[in-house]
């Protein structure tokens, strides 16, 4: 029967009277249901043109309802088995994509076509394409390998997070970045928000096990910290009249949610107190001399609370009486985090001494469960397991399950350890910044990882750590298309290097670098033969793509955190800019003294072997707002010449840093952010005349511009959307938009604009091809 039904014609739809068209889009599915016309219903709900028309009319939500309301019918056998499967797959598609479809209905076809091959939406779309009923160009994913370690959901806060907490129920997380936010983990919805202002801000947070109570610390400049406890459901605040701890650093609810442990410092001493939520009073408070309390936890049973102290000691306290039961010298540096295993027998700690430890707090043969009388743990050092592979201070630790421990450090790495023998199993997560905390929900389903510098909180499902990550592309940091257009160069975070053939869909050459290093920059010479990679260990390497070999490499360049580099087309000269200095290097030997360049370089390229052009922004000492665009030409003889343009974007100044990419000869592209938060992308010539500009409602980043200057690859992180702009139009028209799978770490566009590739922050890679009639 399928052939009897043609897709909806948008033209015909446009010709209908407005009220009929509205009624048609809004009510047709419901009437078909009421009339038991299931075959027609199946056709309508698997018609991409109907879907697009309904979404275009602003009815995406109602469309989703159409699918959901037939869910019951599907089960009762109104549809044939094939139709049933197709409808289920379409329901899944609409549900997953509803956000995108509501804002970009014109992407219905593309999103549908890129569904997993063989599923109804994908099959239908391809059929439309083949029969010619879809005339528009689109982007077809030809390769997609997502990381199995990708986060379930990510939250990005406006400011750096300072604390986060996940409820035991795995339902909610609380994030503090000065403000406090509570989100639903599953939907990502904000359900509670406390706003900081000039006078006060918030620091530590804790969520009760059921997620219904939130404890936060309010900090002001003029008085001691205030402890606030809120009911999330009813928005009511529990009065905490007195506050015994002047400076609160740690909060933790007991497993029943009835008690709250509060730790911190009082003048020069540490302080620890326990608050009874129902009675609204503190049970007790203890002062611990000459140290501070950095973390507090309850042991299972809620009869003992443990304080992790600045002097490396863990102290155990009777919850009911406040009596000190035991102290344990755990570390030589401050304890940064504490965690207890589910059976309550093992205590895990992390410390500024760069180690984590697991300490048995019950002797294996001890059967006594009477915590009131004694804590019969063994503190002989030989019983402890010590984990010492962190290069930086581990900031947080928790048990992933009974046999594995996960810890995160301030360098951005998370390690998973075997809890029994201390062996490092894997390092599955690496944040862009410091890892602030790793915390498991009480039901063991979710892992919350908070990293500071990229303002991200990511929630992972713990079950995904049970299988090894199979994606080959988890370490990609930089990528670009090479000369022959169908090969990608991929630079790995560990300094390794791969050539990926788009045609064969596989990596055909891998280079591993001796020693550990992070790639800081990757550039290709014009013509694409030579590839220069700069590493974090003052090293650089050049690879010759023609011979597929490493031609050179050395260690002793001065590179800071940010480095911009370029390589001449013959591979003979390289130029680096880092820490305000520009350095020419002749590969065959001969270096010149670095010259100071008082600007922030955004991009460089060689014009000839001895001449290069540089774009960037002025280092403005008077005002951090005004960013002047600077274009310079430089020669090894150190003659600098060029143009400076002031206030490029008129009245609305820029904030933050710009990204630059060279385009066609004598033009370059800049992306920047206005003070009002709008993203701007602009093309300039070398005299700093604006050739085209486009504004977005949120910040954007330019990734690459094709050398002919025709296409610009741009991403908008807030909406996870990638755009390809036609750089030859004055308003930089959007030619394609593509919803990304997550945060982009690198994006590349092929020289003729036919292929684009994306490497994701959470791992995984996608390559898509532009198709048009």
């Amino acid at each position: 029967m399928t052939e009897l039904f043609e897709p909806l014609s948008q033209e015909q739809l446009r010709q209908l009277p407005v009220d009929l068209r509205d009624y048609f889009l809004r009510r047709l599915p419901a009437h078909l249901v009421d009339a038991d016309l299931y075959e027609s219903l199946h056709h309508v709900l698997t018609d991409l043109n109907f879907i697009e028309a309904k979404c275009s009319a602003g009815l995406t939500y109602e469309l989703l309802n159409d699918y959901l309301s037939i869910a019951e019918k599907i089960d009762t056998g109104c549809f044939s088995e094939t139709d049933q499967t197709q409808l289920q797959e379409f329901t899944q598609f609409i549900r997953n994509q509803s956000r995108i479809l509501s804002t970009h209905p014109s992407l219905t076809f593309q999103q549908s076509a890129n569904q997993p091959p063989g599923t109804a939406p994908s099959v239908t779309a391809i059929q439309y394409w083949k029969t010619g009923s879809e005339p528009r160009q689109w982007l077809r994913v030809i390769f997609r390998e997502a990381s199995s370690h990708s986060a379930l959901i990510s939250f990005r806060t406006p400011k750096r997070p300072v604390a986060a907490s996940i409820s035991s129920s795995g339902k909610r997380i609380a994030i503090c970045d000065g403000d406090v936010w509570v989100f639903n983990i599953h939907s990502g919805r904000e359900i509670f928000h406390l706003t900081a202002n000039l006078e006060k801000s918030f620091s530590t947070v804790a969520l009760s096990p059921d997620g219904n109570h939130l404890a936060v610390v309010e900090k002001t400049n003029y008085r001691s910290d205030r402890l606030l406890i809120w009911g999330i459901e009813d928005g009511a605040r529990i009065e905490v009249s007195e506050n015994p701890v002047t400076n609160i650093l740690a909060l933790r609810f007991s497993s029943t949610g009835k008690l709250l442990a509060v730790g911190g410092k009082d003048g020069n001493s540490g302080a620890l107190a326990v608050f009874n939520i129902a009675a609204k009073n503190f049970l007790w408070k203890q002062i611990i001399q000459r140290t501070i309390v950095r973390k507090v936890i309850f042991l299972p049973g809620d009869q003992t609370t443990v304080a992790g102290q600045g002097n490396g000691i863990c102290s155990f306290w009777n919850v009911a009486t406040g009596e000190l039961k035991k102290i344990l010298q755990a570390h030589s540096g401050a304890v940064t985090d504490l965690c207890v295993s589910r059976n309550g027998k093992l205590l895990a700690t992390s410390s500024q001494d760069r180690t984590c430890q697991i300490i048995p707090i019950f002797k294996p043969q001890d059967t006594s469960r009477n915590l009131q009388s004694k804590i019969p743990f063994s503190d002989e050092p030989h019983n402890r397991t010590i984990f010492s592979a962190h290069q930086a201070t581990p900031s947080s630790v928790c048990f992933l399950d009974d046999v594995r421990l996960i810890s995160g450090d301030v360098a951005g790495f998370c390690h998973i350890w075997n809890a029994m023998d201390g062996r490092l199993e894997s390092s599955p997560i690496s944040g862009e910044g410091k890892i602030l905390s790793v915390e498991l929900s009480g039901n063991q389903e979710f892992l919350l990882v908070t990293s500071v510098d990229d303002h991200m909180e990511q929630v992972f499902e713990t079950k995904m750590f049970s299988k090894p990550d199979t994606s080959q592309f988890n370490q990609v940091r930089f990528m670009c298309f090479l000369e022959n257009f169908i090969e990608l160069a991929l630079a790995r975070q560990d300094g390794g290097f791969e050539f990926y053939s788009v045609k064969d869909r596989k990596i055909h050459k891998t280079y591993n670098l001796p020693g550990k290093t992070n790639v800081k920059s990757l550039v290709v010479s014009s013509g694409g033969r030579f590839i220069l990679s700069i590493g974090s260990e003052h090293n650089w390497e050049i690879w010759d793509h023609e011979t597929q070999s490493k031609v050179n490499g050395t260690y002793d360049i001065a590179v800071g955190n940010d480095v911009v580099s370029c390589i001449s087309s013959d591979g003979q000269f390289i130029c680096l800019f880092s820490q305000e200095h520009l350095e020419f290097i002749s590969v065959k030997g001969g270096r010149q003294t670095p010259v100071r360049l008082p600007m922030i370089v955004g991009a460089m390229r060689f014009l000839t072997s001895s001449k290069l052009e540089i774009v960037g922004t002025n280092l403005s000492l008077h005002s951090f707002q005004a960013e002047d665009v600077v274009y310079l030409q430089a020669e090894p003889s150190r003659q600098l010449s060029g143009a400076v343009y002031s206030g490029p974007f008129g009245e609305n100044p820029m904030r933050g840093s710009s990204n630059f990419q060279f385009a066609a000869p004598d033009t370059f592209v800049q992306s920047s952010t206005r003070m009002n938060g709008n993203g701007v992308v602009a093309i300039w010539d070398t005299k700093i005349n604006c050739l085209g500009m486009r504004e977005f409602s949120t910040p954007v980043k330019v990734h690459e511009v094709t050398l002919d200057g025709k296409w610009i690859l741009l991403s908008e992180p807030s909406t996870s959307t990638c755009y390809i702009l036609d750089a030859t139009t004055q308003n930089l028209q959007i030619v394609w938009s593509y919803p990304l799978l997550g945060g982009l770490i690198s994006g590349a566009i092929q020289e003729n604009g036919e292929l684009v590739a994306f490497a994701y922050r959470q791992g995984g890679m996608e390559i898509a091809q532009r198709l048009r009639r």
């Binding site: 009897l4 039904f5 043609e6 909806l8 014609s9 015909q12 739809l13 209908l16 009277p17 407005v18 009220d19 009929l20 009624y23 048609f24 809004r26 009510r27 047709l28 419901a30 009437h31 078909l32 009421d34 009339a35 038991d36 016309l37 027609s40 309508v44 109907f50 939500y61 109602e62 989703l64 309802n65 959901l68 309301s69 019951e72 956000r99 509501s102 639903n184 939907s187 919805r189 904000e190 359900i191 509670f192 928000h193 459901e233 009813d234 928005g235 009511a236």
Partner: protein, 581 residues
């Protein structure tokens, strides 16, 4: 009574000015003739009526209360000579009124007008309404057909609503404007454009549902006691269809200015997203919350609503309450059932100081409520209910034609009242239909005893009479239209009824609409610049009545087939004739 006088007087005053201006501009010899026509009472009344309806319609749509208020002022924009001059252009056809001139005079008359309101646009809306109302009157329609004033048909008999003249309605409206509902609508009107545009204006509906509201003190007291004795919670009023739940809730909203939403199945306005948009926007506006627009997520689930309630709750003073009035939970389209959440995503617990007063038929709503709640059913035989029914009938019995009916029946008013109390079975919807029919003289030859008993019987009676006139016509033309009206999912135009009923003659459909007028609700909608009348069923109980006919074979009522007819007509329209089936 003074208020009535003054509203009527103001209408006359405005009408006088416009007519003066018309005559003044009229050319030469025609003037005399036209002057004569305008001197006639019928012409003047029709003109005033159109003007009154225009103002009423304008004020009750699109949260325009605040800016509509000066329209009925003695010194308001409409009494301005320049504006009268511009208004008269509607009937002169030589040029369009200058909306900007009207707009600027209007803006000056409004206290603190919202920045985003464009008064020249408002002026155009008002004048379009005026034109439509004139066009709807038999006296002025010929003027538009011929584009000359001489065509005024002053000999037409005026069809005036039996119980409520437009003047009365305007007086009621003015009262509302000055009351708490007016305050709420004005606050909403001054919110940001984006928030304001999400609010559904139910003012018209509320006015309509409350215009001869009686008593109900026993219910209102109960609600008030609940609000007083609890710190928050749900109060759910239950009762049979037609018992007057909607009128009651409307009255509460009118008196107290509660935030409100009415679920109306036959209008299609009965889904969670519509509710969430409307209610969230009202809360933001009424409590001056810091949002300038509604985020997308507002309609996805109840989280945003809950967040707003909490924020509003935090702003409440010690004796302040936030009350949401929600009508007809039973009419909510809950097809996409998500059993994990309540219908309309109503929160299980409410923040302190927040209350929901809702109505529903007596059925299981599957509501999960984890805070204070009370359910109360209005019983049709409750003595309080019967007292209210009696008062309602007594008031209507004073109308002249009802009086003559009582006289003809050789009974006294008490006997009349008590018989109707019994016949109505405590149901207001019954009286809403029957009393106007008595006043119109429809029952002149029918004895009181022969009147139908109860709402269902009343529907049945009408059904039988209409069917009895001519069975062939019934099955061929009338029934298909009635059934189509029963199954459409929102109010539809005449053209859509033509498509959906497969009755091809427009005149037939118009005739059916006229015959079933009392069961229908008529609205106006703008489509592509022109205004259309839309029709839907007045009350959900009529839908149930028609649906119940399916069980009787010889009635030939098949709602499934009617749905199929509509579906196929839509498929034809959208997919083209050859491709649909």
């Amino acid at each position: 009574m003074t208020a009535l006088m003054s509203t009527s007087a103001i209408l006359s005053y405005i009408a006088g000015k416009v007519i003066d201006s018309l005559i003044g501009k009229g050319a030469g010899k025609l003037s005399e003739n036209i002057w004569g026509k305008f001197q006639k009472d019928e012409t003047q009344t029709a003109f005033k009526e159109a003007l009154g309806k225009t103002i009423h319609r304008y004020a009750t749509s699109g949260t325009r209360f605040a800016i509509a208020q000066p329209l009925l002022d003695q010194s308001g924009p409409l009494t301005d000579k320049t504006v009268a001059e511009e208004l008269s252009k509607v009937l002169r056809f030589d040029e369009d009124p200058d909306y900007q001139v009207i707009g600027s005079i209007w803006r000056n008359a409004v206290d603190d007008p919202p920045q985003w309101r464009d008064f020249s646009v408002e002026a155009k809306v008002l004048i379009d309404f005026f034109r439509q109302e004139l066009l709807a009157s038999d006296i002025f329609r010929p003027v538009f057909d011929t584009k000359t004033l001489i065509a005024i048909n002053e000999n037409t008999e005026l069809a005036v609503d039996v119980f409520d003249s437009i003047e009365e309605q305007l007086v009621e409206l003015q009262k509302s404007m000055e009351g708490k509902l007016g305050d709420l609508i004005k606050t909403i009107g001054s919110a940001s454009l984006e928030v304001n545009s999400q609010v559904r204006d139910f003012t018209w509906y509320i006015q309509e549902k409350t215009h001869d509201f009686v008593g109900r003190k026993f219910v209102i007291d109960k609600v008030e006691t609940f609000l007083k004795e609890n710190k928050r919670g749900y109060y759910i009023l239950r009762g049979d269809p037609g018992i007057g739940k909607t009128a009651l809730l409307s009255q509460l909203v009118k008196n107290q200015g509660y935030i409100h939403h009415f679920n109306i199945r036959s209008s299609g306005a009965n889904r969670a997203d519509i509710f969430l948009k409307n209610i969230c926007a009202q809360i933001i506006a009424a409590y001056d919350l810091k949002y300038t627009s509604l985020p997308d997520r507002a309609i996805e689930d109840g989280d945003f609503l809950f967040q707003l309630l909490r924020e509003a709750s935090a702003k409440l003073g010690s004796n302040q309450k936030l009350v949401m009035a929600i009508d007809a939970l039973d009419e909510v389209d809950n097809e996409a059932k998500n059993y994990a959440s309540n219908l309309l995503y109503l929160p299980a617990t409410l923040p302190l100081g927040v209350y929901i007063v809702a109505t529903s038929r007596d059925m299981d709503l599957r509501l999960r409520i984890e805070c204070e709640q009370e359910n109360w059913k209005i019983n049709q035989n409750d003595t309080h209910n019967i007292d209210d029914i009696r008062d309602y009938i007594k008031a209507k019995a004073l109308y002249p034609k009802t009086q003559s009916y009582i006289a003809e029946q050789k009974i006294d008013e008490d006997r009349f009242t008590e018989s109707l109390v019994e016949k109505s079975q405590g149901n207001f919807m019954y009286l809403y239909h029957v009393l106007p029919e008595i006043e119109r003289g429809d029952y002149r030859s029918i004895s009181l005893d022969a009147l139908p008993i109860g709402l269902k019987d009343y529907y049945e009676d009408h059904w039988r009479r209409m069917k009895g006139q001519n069975e062939e016509v019934w099955f061929k033309y009338k029934l298909p239209v009635i059934v189509a009206l029963t199954v459409v999912k929102e109010a539809v135009s005449l053209d859509r009824l033509l498509d959906f009923s497969a009755v091809t003659e427009k005149a037939r459909i118009i005739a059916v609409l006229a015959e079933w007028r009392q069961f229908l609700y008529e609205t106006q909608a703008e489509y592509g610049g022109s205004s259309q009348k839309l029709y839907r069923l007045y009350h959900a109980s009529f839908h149930d009545f028609v649906a119940s006919k399916q069980e009787i074979a010889e009635e030939h009522v098949d709602l499934k087939a009617a749905n199929a007819k509509i579906a196929i007509s839509l498929l034809h329209a959208g997919y083209g004739n050859d491709r649909a089936l």
